[in-house]
Amino acid sequence: MRGIAPPARRLAEPLFRGGRGRPRLPVLVALLALVAPPGPSDAQDGVVVEQAPVEPGAGAAALIVEPAGAEAPAAEAPAADRRPETEQDAADEAAFGPPEAATAIPSSGSATPEAGTAIDERVLALPALVAAGDLQLRGRYARLDLALPVESGATVRRAALKLAYQSAPSLLSESSRLVVSMKGEALAELPLSPRRGQTRAEITLPGDALPAGADTLTLTAWQEHREGCSLTLSRDLWTQIDPANSYLTLEVEHPDGALVLSDLGEPNWPLGRTGGAVSIITPEPVETDLWLELGGLVARGLALRLEDRPLIIEHRAAPPAGGQGGGTTLAADQPLDLPAGDQVVIGTFDQLLTTLGLEIANRIQGPYIGVHRLDDEHGDGVLVISGLTEDDLLFAATAFANPALELPAAPSVMVDEMPPLSPAPIPFVRPGRIQTLEQWAAPSGPRSQSDERRMSFVLMLPPDFYVADNRKAELRVNYGYKPNVGAGSALHVIVNGEYAGLINLEDSAEGGIVDGQPVRLPLRLFRPGRNVLTFEPALTNADAVGCSQLADGGPSVGVFGDSTLWLPTVSNVVNLPDLGLFASLGFPYGAEGMEAPTSLVATAYDPSTIGAAWTLVARMAQTARAPLLSLDLGFSVRNERAHVLYVGPLSTLDQRVAARTPLARLHLRRDENASFLPPGSGPADSPKPLVQAWAPPGGGEGLVPLRAAHAEAWPVAGERAEWERQIGRPVTRPGGPFGRIAAAMDDLVEDASRSVSELLPQAWQPDLAAREPGFFGDESKQFDGAAVALASPFAPRRTATVVTAADPRMLERAVAALVQPATWYALRGDVAAWTLERPGAAAARVAARFPLQDPPSGLRQSVLYWNSYFAEHPAFWMLLVLGGILMLALITRISVRRLAGTGG
């Protein structure tokens, strides 16, 4: 082991003993446990303890502990509204349903508040309450402090702690216990019964024990050895709390219902809490670039404060003042007719005066950001962005978009100074350096102890990470495994869904800890932007003896966070267009400091299109972790030398752009209830493609349809059936080595075909789409939304990206589906399409890519650049090679003839 083991690592020693016996803190540990029969329930006063039902054969229980600094789970959202955060979440939810804990704690509903008060019900996952994110109690005495988020002035009316935990098999249950306490006062004592498998307990906490303000709930474990076990195993003393199934539920009463801006994005903030759409309300229909920009700024501000939670935005124009015409101001004598849910109102003082009332309006003395609780039964809040003038309003919106602006613990603020922009840097893995997993990798995947067998890390690679070559990344895995790991066990390493290597686990009676096990990963499996590195254990259970036989824990293996990854220096080339890069980093629109201008163009004026544009820009801000202030929003292209992102219904797109895409061959469904119909189409046309006029002569430009091989990177396992339905054939590779070879050859043929098509004149290019049963031109395969990236027809080395649907309403819904992680991260290649029903997207590459920048000047980078160029243009490299060999053959031939003439 390198360096000095931190104290926390030393604490982890008992879990993986044997080997060289060095301590280790597993950042991420997978436990594959044998299924234990359910045991009787224990009950105490105020405490309900039950045995977790485990389905026979389910077999595996996984436990994932987040590293410090890992993203908090979206536990604030009730289970019913919770959306999968990653494709892995989605996969598991598809396969296993939503996490059990989320449904195990039913919402108590809204209590009737007292006059002048509001009730806020919160469901808080335990990992969010622990500073280190580690929910493991180790050693004979262990303690875990949970921070309680109850804001000042609030009253806890009801509280309950639900714990799901499992203890080491070596514990002696008679003398081991877990105590829940606050301020030194024990609230409950729970048994630690390792034989029972996972134990679940629900503890009702006295409301008066949880005063408002920062406070701490303490879990203390006293853990004793099991008697009669081997000495080595008796050192295993731990209790693991299931992070997915352990919750704290609070019912908090606000004495005056007041909200403060500093709570924006916090768990108790009502805006965005439900997971539904947020409405941005403008005083009039948005028809100017300014108002489109204003909404976009607010969307970005909201998104960045909600971190990674998908944010869906709808646009509503306020109704005209009641009966007074004009429609430019909100009605003064009528209550604001806001839709249920979350709202943001933007407008100038004049526009909002009558609506908000004099008391609030008087606060608007300049650029204004305020929050007010609506007087309705839900206690929803409304965020107000305003100003005396449009300039003030723009200033306020821009400030709000800036995450560096610290919002005060007050209902409103007048922004008088714009804080310097300090976007949160994306923690890129830098090639050429050795970095630890915990240094930059955030584990992903469901945090359930019963479903997950994989351990996944999300790595971000910079956009100029060129990966077409044959080099290898070197992973040095530090891992430990328990004594009962049987012969033939292995830890598979998977990169972006592709098998990359394996580690054989030695059949050891004592378990072991291994440092620096090298695994070579083909660099080609990585890509710029978001990458998922997965460890998948394949464990067998050794013949149990002694304590292992008594234990209900099965074989386990843990990968430590100080495992390292080294990526070789690569060519710093950005090849565009690439939807994968767009989805991972927002590139090129999200690249701060890019010299090239960037624009987002909404191609229609209807609220649905505008809402879709705002939703998209919000997701891009989250992706780029920056407010994208350089992104220019408008209804038309003001700078044709910009990278342009078009958002709009298919029929409204710029034909100069659309004609260069294969969208005409894509079958996009319309919204059945849509009132908007594109010109020239009618109900009788459905479900034919809406736009036929854009089909280029010859049916496309070297289209390459989707193939089954694309499904290998399909992030959502549960969506395979849908994929098969879409492409019309099974995606599971046929068994046997020939099937694998055939799949690999399939790739080669595609690459070669594409390269050939690049060489041919346009008119000669084969219509590959017509030959292959892909998603182009096949009426049985219909989608709701599509994204296409292409080289800009207006400027060299610029891209145009199109996000579109058949009609505005469908566009709004399609973009809402798009920003969900499972679909967003499935964007690949330069054409992608998706449906509303299923997460995920079908993707393909149609056109060749081009490098975004000029060749570099340094020798090393120049060589790498040209290598990458040739990798993108194999024909040129082949011509070079053939020319060189021909010359060599010619000289050799002449030489041989001369030698022969001289008798050798």
Binding site: N470, Y499, L748, I885, L899
Partner: protein, 737 residues
């Protein structure tokens, strides 16, 4: 090659080499692979020559260069991984194989077709020639044939002297401590003296057996005086035109020291016989003699092969005679001659007919000596360091020496997949795509190139089979040489061993163990393939590799079941016109094939109307090679058969006196054109798949027969390693009687 050309060539080669090292991704590699394979297919189909052929060869070499680059930089296991050590060994084995591939390609760049060199018109211009026939323990019957044929050599008698160099009759042998052996030696020596007197041949011997064959020839050099020396092994029967084909070259080039001719074998080696491929597949030696030697000749590096070669005495003596510091004295002698600045020539015409080892045991003995000798040369007379050689000669000799390290690389290739299948060691870091795009094209291209260069002379995978079998038995002797380069002693290859019944060779056990190991590994692979879906890519690579090894091992296992001797030996196809005369009928026909004992006569049906089946005795009238007269040979007709409208007679020769014996030797061995025709009729190209399937099926068939024999026979006769009981030129009839 002018300095300008050389510089330009080096510049181009450097650029192409540099391009080959660049990492340009899999799609680009796919292009290259497709282009190379398509070119090689074109090479196979259209047989282009000149510049196009050269281009395709270089393109294939470029594919291998890309593979080597990828292996070196991207597919080796991490240094501190458990797979590194075996991975490095595999890499070194591949380096060896690829190095040989490139060297072989260089050596065979422009095979030289030499025009015949005529002898002078006037007798006084003929150089004098001494024929040295070296013997140690070969039976007198064999030597009788060789010596008889030597007396038939067409060359002015005044310029030709024939010497029998008997190393079995030295003082050391005749007066050895072992009285029985000494008596046998005396008896043999006496017999040989009488034979020499009978044939008019000089009998030479010496005091001791120092330096074995090399010492024997060197001793004879001191007792003779001819300008040229024709060296023959005891079993190498010369054709009448052997000197007509060779001596003329010496008159053209005064610096010429050596003219080598091919070794043609009238019987199959154990692999050919046990798999039954002698008449359908080119012999193993043909590739070396009809392709490699011609390639070496272009670079003035053709090698002395110990027999069937003519050397210029003066030049030979200048380098100290036949070299003695290696058990392959022949190769070392040619190395010394080349290093001294003398030239060599290779005449691609079989003018001797010899005997290949009959048993697998003696075959291994022969190849072990070759391997040890060439490694000795590598260690003690390294061609790269030897002064006087041209760069091309260095590379050619290096190729010849390095080849004999094949036991290491071959066994590594066999063991490599087992590392993963048995122990899970990843020693080859590659994905399936990389394997398909880098390894497969390299393997395919090298196989196709080999098939292009040598396909007519050796089926694909035959080399692999020979190397696999020999690796198991030569690895230890080669290791011994590497440790003690001067340790090996010359061992005469036993010739003419008789196998009286089908039997399992005593050397079968290692091959059997190897086969079982590979089979078990294949089964484990299958199990893991379905048990570990994530490993399927890697398993696909490993299992495919293992299956190839397994098929070769199966073919090798078939070789271990040795066929009874005589079934297919010593028959030369002739198609020579004859008259068959009996007391009751006469007919014109064709001598289809003949050995010294028997012949197959074919008579057209219209000629056979008057044939009396009851008539058993008669005569064959035939014009013998080198004679313008019709000779008669008494025959006994054993059997008649009608086949495709022809009457086929199988007959025994009944030689009566020395004239008939001379006539039979002249009939069977006098005309080298018959051997050329025989070789050409079996030189047919096979596709990669066809050859692989044929070897697999032949191996499977023989293995099943062996299994049946082991299971149902009561007793298996062990192969005799004692070569004293020899019957020269077994023939078909003995097998039938």
């Amino acid at each position: 090659m002018t300095p300008f050309l050389l510089t330009f060539w080096l510049l181009c080669a450097t650029i192409v080499f540099w391009i080959g090292l660049q990492d340009v991704g899999l799609a680009t590699q796919a292009w290259l692979a497709l282009a190379a394979i398509a070119s090689l297919l074109a090479l196979r189909l259209f047989k282009p020559s000149g510049l196009i052929r050269m281009f395709i060869l270089l393109l294939a070499a470029f594919v291998t260069l890309r593979y080597l680059s990828w292996r070196t930089f991207y597919s080796l296991p991490p240094v501190d991984s458990s797979g590194f050590a075996p991975g490095l060994i595999l890499y070194l084995a591949e380096l060896h194989a690829i190095g040989l591939y490139f060297l072989g390609m260089f050596a065979n760049l422009a095979p030289k077709e030499r025009a015949p060199a005529r002898l002078p018109q006037h007798l006084e211009n003929y150089p004098s020639v001494d024929v040295f026939i070296a013997t140690y323990n070969e039976p007198i019957e064999i030597l009788r044939i060789t010596l008889t044929a030597a007396t038939h050599i067409r060359y002015p008698k005044s310029r030709l002297e024939i010497f029998l160099l008997d190393d079995g009759g030295t003082d050391e042998k005749l007066h050895g401590r072992n009285a029985t052996a000494a008596a046998a030696a005396r008896q043999r020596a006496d017999g040989l003296r009488r034979l020499c007197e009978e044939l008019g041949v000089h009998y030479l011997t010496r005091r001791s057996n120092t330096h074995a064959k090399a010492g024997n020839i060197n001793s004879a050099l001191t007792q003779s005086s001819g300008d040229l020396v024709l060296v023959l092994d005891a079993d190498h029967v010369p054709a009448q035109d052997i000197l007509e084909q060779t001596v003329g070259h010496f008159l053209r080039d005064p610096k010429l020291a050596l003219v080598q001719t091919p070794h043609f074998f009238v019987n199959p080696d154990p692999v050919e016989r046990n798999l039954g491929t002698f008449y359908m597949m080119p012999s193993e030696s043909e590739m070396f003699y009809q392709a490699v030697q011609k390639g070496l000749d272009f670079w003035n590096a053709s090698m002395f092969c110990g027999s069937a070669a003519v050397l210029r005495r003066r030049h030979l003596l200048r380098v100290g005679g036949i070299a003695t510091s290696s058990v392959t004295e022949d190769a070392l002698t040619s190395l010394e001659l080349h290093a001294a600045g003398y030239n060599s020539a290779y005449v691609d015409r079989p003018v001797v007919a010899g005997l290949a080892p009959e048993t697998f045991d003696s075959f291994v003995t022969q190849r072990t000596r070759w391997a040890q000798g060439m490694v000795q040369i590598l260690l003690l007379n390294n061609p790269l360091l030897k002064r006087g050689l041209t760069p091309a000669q260095r590379l050619c000799y290096l190729n010849s020496c390095l080849f004999w390290l094949f036991p290491f690389s071959r066994l590594v290739f066999v063991a490599a997949p087992l590392c993963y299948l048995f122990f899970g060691l990843r020693i080859f870091e590659a994905t399936l795509s990389e394997f398909i795009l880098f390894t497969l094209p390299h393997v395919l291209c090298s196989l196709m190139i080999a098939n292009h260069l040598f396909g007519r002379l050796r089926w694909p995978f035959v080399s692999d089979l020979y190397e696999l079998l020999l690796s198991l038995f030569t690895i230890r002797p080669v290791l011994v040489v590497l440790g003690r380069p001067r340790a090996p002693r010359f061992r005469v290859t036993p010739k003419g061993d008789a196998i009286v019944a089908d039997q399992v060779t005593r050397l079968a056990m290692p091959v059997f163990i190897l086969f079982c190991t590979l089979l078990i590994a294949a089964l484990i692979g299958l199990f893991r393939y379905y048990a570990s879906p994530l490993e399927q890519d890697h398993l696909t690579i490993v299992m495919a590799w293992n299956v190839v090894n397994l098929a070769l091992a199966l073919a090798g296992l078939g070789v271990m079941y040795e066929r009874a001797g005589g079934a297919s030996t010593g028959w030369i196809l002739r198609d020579k016109p004859i008259n068959v005369v009996t007391r009751s009928w006469e007919a014109r026909g064709v001598l289809q094939s003949a050995s010294l004992q028997a012949a197959r006569l074919v008579i057209d049906f219209d000629q056979a109307q008057g044939v009396d089946p009851g008539e058993r005795y008669g005569q064959v009238q035939i014009v013998l090679p080198g004679s313008g007269m019709v000779s008669d040979f008494p025959i006994l007709i054993e059997r008649e058969d009608v086949h495709r409208g022809q009457l086929v007679l199988d007959a025994w020769f009944l030689p009566d006196g020395w004239q008939d014996e001379h006539g039979l030797v002249a009939l069977c061995f006098g005309d080298s054109a018959a051997w050329v025709a025989f070789q050409e009729q079996r030189q047919r190209e096979r596709s990669l798949a066809g050859a692989f399937a044929a070897l697999f099926m032949l191996g499977l068939s023989r293995s099943l027969m062996m299994a049946k024999a082991i299971l149902f026979r009561e007793r298996l006769v062990p192969v005799s390693t004692d070569s004293t009981a020899m019957v020269p030129y077994h023939d078909l009839w003995k097998g039938r009687r």
